[in-house]
């Protein structure tokens, strides 16, 4: 079903035993659903705790006397302004200001950082970062880890029962609780939760403990996608791409003001020009009328039938109880409540521009 280059998760045997249905994603064979099914998996995550194997994502440790300078060059980020254990969403941009990848950067020490990259871009990211590192006294080390996410209101309690205290760790902070572990309070669902990178043997032990807790269920990639879409979070390759910049993507909040003005990151000039011009299109939430989902790729039109943009991600929101989508529309239409129309197999489906997220974030911020 997939090519010879398909990569397999270190814990694949556990997913097989759990009855997972697999599919290809970003070069990996990934569990798409488990026997509970996408709908139950999604709702369970919002109500209790979902366990995700996200080992397809890549952790890089960036360290050395000039680690801060390297990251400030690679990302529109003030790495030196991060507190120890603070995490921040950032990007690799191309010279045109387009988004090569979105990343989470966490400061582990004065000159040590963890960078978490998307699966599909991990190889290119490593090459990019290593090439930049040649100009700095800094090291880029890809880590060989299993990467797990546990998400949902009971995530902290389930970890606690498994012997892992999350105590004072707040949203968008990360620590190294054990040797070769990295744990951050973060995720891709809009819920409180944690992402934990750890050696395979430790991961097998942790997974066994967590699955012994009736509040914890394996959750596949299908529900991961519907959860993040309801939460209004972007998927790189769909909602953000090398052709979209942070301004049109509505992600300028991730770039500190002084960095926007004077940062020397790659793509700085192009991004400043894009901000100055104002984006021609903006990313928005889209709420289709009725029950029919509107999918990524669907063209959008205004009330007069003029092209208005396109859908980048779409599906059904099990918690929202209705179809949910996001996409780009021309800036004058990018206001909540504006009605546009999506072309679905020749039928025009009314779609309202909607604020994001569709389901409120429940992060533990303090």
């Amino acid at each position: 079903m997939t090519g010879n280059d398909t990569r397999h998760l270190p814990l694949e045997d556990i997913h097989v035993a759990a009855g997972a249905r697999f599919g290809a994603f970003a070069g990996w064979s990934m569990p798409l659903t488990y026997p509970a099914g996408v709908m139950k998996e999604h709702l369970h995550t919002r109500e209790q705790a979902g366990l995700f194997d996200i080992s397809h994502m890549k952790l890089f440790e960036v360290s050395g006397p000039e680690a801060v300078s390297l990251l400030n060059r690679a990302c529109p980020l003030d790495a030196g302004a991060l507190d120890i254990s603070q995490s921040k969403l950032s990007f690799f941009l191309n010279e045109a200001g387009g988004i090569l990848d979105d990343l989470i950067v966490t400061r582990l020490g004065d000159s040590r950082f963890m960078v978490v990259a998307n699966a599909g871009n991990a190889v290119a990211d490593e090459k990019h970062l290593r090439a930049l590192a040649a100009d700095f006294d800094a090291r880029v080390e890809p880590l060989d880890r299993v990467f797990l996410a546990i998400q949902g209101p009971e995530a902290w309690a389930a970890l606690s029962r498994a012997g892992i205290e999350t105590g004072s760790l707040l949203f968008m902070h990360g620590v190294e609780p054990r040797n070769n572990w990295f744990m951050s309070r973060s995720g891709y669902t809009g819920e409180d939760g944690f992402e934990i990178g750890l050696p395979e043997a430790d991961a097998r032990d942790l997974v066994a403990k967590l699955l012994g807790d009736e509040r914890v269920l394996w959750i596949g990639l299908a529900a991961r996608d519907s959860l993040r879409l309801e939460a209004g979070l972007c998927l790189h390759g769909q909602d953000i791409t090398p052709e979209t910049d942070p301004a049109s993507a509505g992600l300028m909040w991730a770039i500190p003001k002084d960095i926007r003005a004077s940062g020397a990151f790659i793509g700085a000039d192009a991004l400043r020009a894009a901000v100055e011009r104002g984006p021609a299109q903006k990313r928005v939430g889209l709420k289709p009328e009725g029950r029919q989902p509107v999918r990524g790729g669907a063209a959008l039109f205004d009330a007069d039938g003029n092209p208005a943009g396109h859908v980048t991600s779409g599906g059904f929101g099990p918690s929202a109880g209705h179809p949910v989508a996001m996409g780009y529309v021309v800036t004058p239409l990018a206001k909540s409540g504006t009605r546009v129309f999506a072309d679905v197999r020749g039928t025009k489906i009314p779609v309202d521009i909607s604020s994001l997220p569709f389901t409120p974030h429940r992060y533990r911020k303090g």
Binding site: M39, G315, F316, P323
Partner: protein, 122 residues
């Protein structure tokens, strides 16, 4: 007396006289996962074998269901508009998709019986 046929595309047809009731198999609904929307055909629509008759949408994706034989739609299962999950819970019963009047009953000879279909899905 009704006779049930199956297709390689995981549909079933229950034929009584010249009317076939068509749905997807239990195997197919399992593959698709939880359905959230079924785009039903208009009554009276004429279809040739292989035309898209219905689109079933899961949380994640839309999939076409093809007309297994030539014919004219006589009824669509309107219950699915409010409860598409019937296709998951009762694929071969209350989750039927449409009924059609057969244009050429000789086409049925090219379909599988239950034993052949079971062998097909392994």
């Amino acid at each position: 007396m009704a006779t049930t046929y199956f297709t390689a595309d995981h549909e079933w047809l229950r034929v009584e006289g010249s009317i076939a009731t068509v749905g997807i198999t239990d195997y197919a609904q399992e593959q698709l996962g939880d359905l959230v929307f079924v785009e039903l055909p208009e009554t009276g629509k004429k279809l040739s074998k292989g035309d898209t008759a219905v689109v079933v949408e899961s949380v994640k994706a839309a999939s076409d269901v093809y007309a297994p034989v030539d014919g004219e739609i006589t009824e669509a299962n309107g219950t699915l508009s409010s409860d598409p999950s019937l296709v998951n819970s009762a694929a071969t019963g209350a989750g039927w998709l449409w009924k059609m009047r057969l244009a050429d009953e000789s086409q049925l000879a090219g379909l599988m019986d239950e034993a052949a279909y079971k062998a097909h899905i392994g």
